[in-house]
């Protein structure tokens, strides 16, 4: 086992059968990510960015190829195994925050702990409050999501992703719905999390992403174009 890389994709291909024939979302993608890395996946829409993210978080399965996360192969797990694996290992952040509207911010952060049962019940509220403090919105804890700004909602969503202390964070255009000033604050937050040991894979359209992330993967037509060059 090569434990140096936390994430290893080897020959991952994903095809969809459609009316217009076979569509290749991903072709023979190979990718390695080390623990604590902050990786940006960039590329035009339809290039396969979100597909990779869905593979890594176990929401989608490859047609062929292997996906290793640490010592675990997730490409051959069934739905139930994936759900149980995901809740311990992956936190997901969405573009549109996706906080549950009828729960307070604090309750939104506690919800994954409630579903997973890893954190003992009496420690959940304290942990959720500490996470909200970490993302800088502890004073909003008892408000409903609709009362918060977009940036605050995304911070809450990040706190929720960290609820069960996963090693891996997946973010799908987390700044895509935020103004540039707020985007920078969110990216700063991710950078800090990476520095504290979380491995982060982020799909993004942000320009000048290199000053935040440790590496960039560029996709075009379902293939990795290169590992570093940007916007060429």
């Amino acid at each position: 086992m090569n434990n140096e890389n936390l994430i290893r994709l080897t020959g991952v291909t994903k095809t969809h059968e459609g009316a217009g024939g076979t569509f290749h979302a991903l072709r023979e993608v190979n990718l390695q990510v080390k623990p604590g890395e902050f990786v940006a996946i960039i590329g035009k829409s339809g290039s396969g960015k979100s597909t990779i993210l869905n593979m890594l978080s176990g929401i989608d399965k490859p047609t062929s190829g292997e996906i290793w996360i640490g010592d675990t192969t997730i490409h051959n797990m069934d739905q139930d195994q994936l759900a149980k694996w995901r809740r311990r290992n992956v936190g997901v952040v969405f573009q549109f925050f996706q906080l549950l509207p009828t729960l307070t911010i604090l309750e939104n952060v506690m919800l994954p702990m409630d579903f997973c049962g890893i954190i003992p019940a009496r420690e959940r509220k304290g942990r959720a409050l500490r996470l909200l403090e970490q993302v800088g919105i502890s004073e909003q804890a008892d408000k409903l999501p609709a009362l918060l700004s977009g940036g605050q909602q995304q911070r809450a969503a990040i706190a929720r992703a960290l609820a069960n202390d996963p090693a891996l964070l997946m973010a799908d255009e987390p700044t895509g719905n935020l103004d540039s000033h707020t985007s920078e604050a969110i990216l700063q937050l991710f950078k800090g999390l990476a520095a504290s040991g979380k491995t982060i894979v982020m799909v993004t359209h942000e320009r000048d992403i290199t000053k935040w992330v440790s590496s960039v993967v560029k996709l075009a037509d379902g293939q990795v174009v290169n590992g570093s060059g940007l916007y060429d």
Binding site: S57, I59, Q79, D80, A83, K84, R86, R87, G91, V92, F94, Q98, L100, P101, T102, L103, E107, M110, L111, P112, M113, D114, F115, C116, A121, R122, E123, R124, K125, G126, R160, A161, A163, N164
Partner: protein, 347 residues
């Protein structure tokens, strides 16, 4: 200090969602309540109408057959009772009269003339309050007629009999309950119970013209009742009594049994309709709830919920609606119970 939540966060979400759509939640609870109430009413109606009223009615030893003659008496009754197949026989007379209910206002009155109030054996009834038996020129009134004639114990009633049409005054000395009669306030008819002496004082001939018999077994078997009644008629005619005709009342059935059947049918239809409609309403409410929450279900799965956990949440939420509906129908039923008790008294 850390506080453990009394209700876990996921159930707070369920409650929050129900609260957010208050109108829809209320509608669903109401629909369930109406459905349960409809079916409950039908079931209660069945149990009251089929069981309790029948038991009440059969408890009066209703006549299996009535033989009409000129002058039935106790001697005849005793002779007939000794015949095989006859459990009881009792002479009676029913006079259709009028009773004054107000100035120039008369109601139909069925006068039951009874030879011996202390030895009722067929078509019995019970004293509810007042004196038993009535003395001469006294009358007992069936309770369902009270709202009709607006009289009470101690009052004097004015009665006209067909023979001479004159006003006669009788004193009300008791109120009885006769489950064998259809309710007087429904049929707009009063029932009175008097002695032979009183009958004579009203200008009628002193005679009982019916012999009512009860068969000893199979009281609902019309063929058997007919056989026994024919046998009794033969014996009566041998003894010189002329039997003008024999009546076999609808065996073992309350006089309002047919109305009850129609009522039951209506109840049944409305109950089933209410149940179907409320089921449709609940089903559409639940499917609206689910389709509104597809995105949230997806999010919950991504943050770690298993399919079972999510199914549990929505089942729980439907269960909560059901229990709320049940509770509200329980409160409704408590109110209804009082009314039913009143209605039941009439039969």
């Amino acid at each position: 200090m850390e506080v453990v939540y009394m209700i876990s966060v996921r159930w707070r979400k369920v409650l929050g969602d129900l609260w957010l759509n208050k109108t829809r939640t209320l509608l669903a609870v109401l629909a369930i309540a109406i459905g349960i109430f409809g079916v409950g009413t039908v079931l209660a109606g069945y149990s009251i109408l089929t069981h309790e009223i029948n038991a009440n009615f059969l408890g009066t030893h209703p006549a299996s057959a009535i033989l009409y003659t000129e002058n039935a008496d106790d001697k005849l009754a005793a002779a007939v009772e000794s015949l095989p197949g006859v459990a009881n026989a009792e002479p009676r007379r029913i006079v259709t009269a009028r009773i004054q209910a107000g100035p120039n206002e008369y109601r139909r009155l069925l006068l039951f003339v009874i030879d011996d109030f202390n030895n009722l054996r067929v078509s019995t009834f019970k004293l509810e309050r007042g004196n038993w038996p009535p003395a001469d020129r006294e009358i007992l009134i069936e309770r369902s007629a009270l709202p009709l004639i607006k009289k009470e114990i101690g009052d004097t009633v004015i009665i006209q009999t067909p023979n001479n049409g004159q006003d006669h005054e009788l004193k009300v000395t008791g109120i009885v309950h006769d489950p064998g009669q259809s309710p007087g306030d429904v049929d707009n008819i009063a029932y009175g119970y008097i002695t032979l002496n009183t009958l004579e004082s009203l200008g009628e001939t002193r005679a009982l013209n019916e012999l009512r018999i009860v068969v000893d077994e199979n009281s609902k078997d019309v063929t058997r009742i007919t056989n026994v009644a024919n046998q009794v008629r033969d014996v009566m005619e041998k003894r010189g009594y002329h039997v003008s005709h024999v009546e076999i009342p609808n065996a073992g059935k309350h006089p309002h049994a047919d109305q009850m059947d129609s009522l039951l049918f209506l109840l049944e239809v409305f109950g089933i309709l209410a149940l179907i409609l409320s089921s449709i309403l609940v089903a559409s409410t639940v499917s609206a709830l689910l389709s509104q929450q597809i995105r949230q279900i997806g999010v919950m799965k991504v943050i770690g919920a298993t399919t079972y956990q999510i199914a549990g949440l929505y089942f729980g939420s439907v269960l909560l609606l059901g229990v709320s509906g049940l509770l509200s129908v329980f409160l409704l039923a408590c109110g209804q119970a009082g009314h039913s008790r009143y209605s039941q008294r009439k039969y």
